[in-house]
Assembly symmetry: C2
Homo-oligomer: 152 residues x 2
DNA sequence: CCGAAATAGGATGTCAATGTCCTGTTTTTG
DNA sequence: CAAAAACAGGACATTGACATCCTATTTCGG
């Protein structure tokens, strides 16, 4: 009956849904290509099971994962971990929208951004670049001793 | 009666409130140090007047602007445009929260972030850095021919 | 073919962000 | 001092993100 968020947002920059999708996909990558049951992923990644199911359906529609019903079914990556970047996941769930034109739609100037929105767009670009630079496979190879998702 | 957002979010990364705060502060910087009335700022920046008033109150509490009541009063910057960065404004309204520890609070490892959250934090860092690198004064000096906020 | 295993998806609930409105309080000017 | 100017702030409305639950529907194994 209590519908307050189960977990505090990691950062206001990322939606809870992005966080959940990333956890799930990293979990899948660690076990790729074996399919995993949604309930198991939810437990391991500490994501609400019913909500994770919705998130995974979204990822399926974007071609990130495959869902298989029935005994022995479950969720698996649609591509190899070396073919998926963090950006692919983020964009599938909550696309990074670069600023293409001034949000104040004055027609007194062309498509050129004012200085403020240009700077904001540059910040978005740097984030986009950071996310594009790492594949799931590289995440798993990370020398960091803490395994992804902090489980073991 | 219609309470749908007046303007589409510029990017899911930035809240509407951050966008409004930045527009208002840039407007103030262009006219610094003369105080401006909230209603005038709202009109020039295309922000709902009553909501802008709330945003400005928040900025006052964070020491970004000064509010003066009565005839001849209005809103003015609490510091020179060369003393305020975009990051100062963003953090006053919707602080960028860097990821300090794994959001899955397993105690099986220390404060070290797993590879996924380390990458996410690096993306936040790059955005933070981008925002810290520009002061309001530098925004106004921008060689870009479109004046900030696209008005004139 | 039957039953168990899984996902599919609709209906519904809650809350914070966004936005409006109205009345109070402070300050300045004449 | 009186009146107008301007912010202060509480009450309230709406919406989308987050979340749950329950009932299909599909698929595999024996």
């Amino acid at each position: 009956m209590d519908h307050r968020p189960l977990f505090r947002l990691v950062s206001f920059m990322f939606s809870q849904t992005v966080e959940y999708a990333l956890r799930a996909v990293v979990h899948l990558a660690m076990r790729s290509p074996a399919p995993q049951k949604t309930a198991k992923i939810a437990e391991a990644t500490q994501v609400p099971p019913a909500y994770l199911a919705k998130v995974l359906q979204g990822l399926k529609e974007k071609g990130i994962v495959k869902l298989q019903r029935g005994i022995g079914g479950g969720v698996s990556l649609a591509h190899g971990p070396d073919q998926l970047t963090i950006l692919d996941i983020v964009n599938a769930v909550d696309p990074i929208q670069r600023i293409k034109h001034c949000p104040l739609d004055l027609k007194t100037h062309g498509a050129r951004l004012c200085a403020l929105h240009f700077r904001m767009d540059q910040a978005l670009l740097s984030m986009e670049t950071a996310f594009r630079s790492t594949t799931l496979a590289e995440l798993l190879e990370d020398p960091n001793p803490s395994v992804p998702l902090c489980d073991h």
